[in-house]
Symmetry: C2
Subunit: 331 residues, 2 copies
Amino acid sequence: MSVRKVAELAGVAPMTVSRVINTPTKVRPETRERVLKAIERLGYVPDLVASSLSSKRSRIVSALVPTLGNPMFSQVIQGLADTLRAADYHLIIGDTRYSAKIESALVLEMLGRRPEAIVLTGPVREERIRKALLRAGITVVQIWDLQPGHIVDCAVGFDNYAAAVAMMRHLLGRGYRRLGFMAIVGDERARERQVAFREALAQHKLKPTFEALPSRFDPAYDPTDEFIRQIEQHPETDAVFCASDMLAHLAIFACQRKGWAVPGRIALAGFGDLPLSAKIVPSLTSIRINQYEIGRRAAEVIVQRAGGLRPRTLVQDLGYEIVERESTAPP
Amino acid sequence: MSVRKVAELAGVAPMTVSRVINTPTKVRPETRERVLKAIERLGYVPDLVASSLSSKRSRIVSALVPTLGNPMFSQVIQGLADTLRAADYHLIIGDTRYSAKIESALVLEMLGRRPEAIVLTGPVREERIRKALLRAGITVVQIWDLQPGHIVDCAVGFDNYAAAVAMMRHLLGRGYRRLGFMAIVGDERARERQVAFREALAQHKLKPTFEALPSRFDPAYDPTDEFIRQIEQHPETDAVFCASDMLAHLAIFACQRKGWAVPGRIALAGFGDLPLSAKIVPSLTSIRINQYEIGRRAAEVIVQRAGGLRPRTLVQDLGYEIVERESTAPP
DNA sequence: CTGAAAGCGCTTACAG
DNA sequence: CTGAAAGCGCTTACAG
């Protein structure tokens, strides 16, 4: 099945078949009809691989996220997928498992598909990769965290550090003073939140009661146990800033098991504002990021660029919002 | 940047560069070294589009799931992505939003990329699409639900109906008799569970107290409110079978808000056994499906097929497991 | 409005 | 072990 077969059946040149598919208005209606009928009869599906090669437009976008298992990122992917599909692009995805090494290997692999754009979560970490990206001359959209110094091309996201600072302001404003921090090790974005956590405390001449970073690669990995252990070892803790809502949910359940009132005994705050966070009991104070919108905007930038437009702003800060809920009511 | 440039720099023919990349052992070590150096120096990344076209091997797999937002499916995708990457395949994804129409359009689009295999969630619903798939002559792996009559090619999943029947056996065995059912409308897989729910009750000469199917397209969509409304309208209900763990989690929170003891007042059971279900208070009885494994096996089938092997079994039933937890303790 | 020629960047299938 | 020729299935850039 190929343009040639269709052309033969319709009694036209292959070029005309190509026109019917790509620029139908440039073909006389009668001719178009004949070609369309031939396409239909043969069940012809144009080969986009060949099309990509000769037109030098792959209509492919690659996106790399740390993990697909995290709803934060799957929402971003969903936003990307929906918007790109509407513009006739296909999306190739890869997950880096939070590893810079895997990320680099994936970028190189992806580049082989000649994508028109590549979406990366966070800054490029290897100089070699940055060079390869530049040499490829494609649109690079860095999503999620905005770190101005490291942006290769475009960026859509929010200020992770500022968001964490705002949450700390909220917690301190509520009167909490003995704060713990919890994140999953390997999550570099969480590291930034941790820095904000420390600095905010330091400004108030306070010290963390604990900073726990269970590793998902640790065979004994269980954030729930880790949380309980930390609270028992540091019973003065009156609030815990969790680097993700999922951790905060687990902490709430741990507290329920232990009979620790939230927020009476311990206040809890998360990050990401998952849908469940508004519904959980107690409802969870969190930092809302519009994940879907990040994906949508990233796709938008890509489509605009492909259309020859220079997007007005190369860096789009979509902001964040502290959502104050029951879990951090004043003590 | 092309094989030609590399070939010139290395002083060999393009064909030799191709060999160094694809079958390096077939090139004399000294020649290979020279070519490798040229590749390195130029930062050459082979064009997989051109490679696909001439070799007729795209090394692409397309996967369609109803939504990426549901952790059930993102786990499947993760299993696919990991396994396919290890075999040097790229994964193009699409989400059908539970729509047969979108699914059909996506399949046709995907076919244009000449994937070596396509992964579909559930059976193909349009005859036209089944034909297109057959004509494409590629591996089609139907995942998730196993419906023998509708399988185009291979299938990896579990028996949705049997799983729901097993859960009903559990609930009835625990002594619950006044059962309600809840699912999100549009989820066809949930429909099967609903049928099992009804039939199991009928066998015991029982009737549902309610069957609620909130629609995510309904502006007033709120499964929590819907759950509360149903329980208040049908206060005799002593247990609710939720077609997904997420719904069951929301139901648990709703009960906490209302002061309805789970399982004292109402027992709850879910489907999918999300990680949170073991941790939530009360822990949730659910049906465990190994989502990641479904993805992994689907990829395995694809890789085996590509290697010329006929997989031993075309239909792999990975089974399910009723995980009995606190939420359905005897009344 | 339509078509013949050339070429996109690889690899297949020979040939030596 | 290496290479020259042909071709994968489209589209670009002309030409008429």
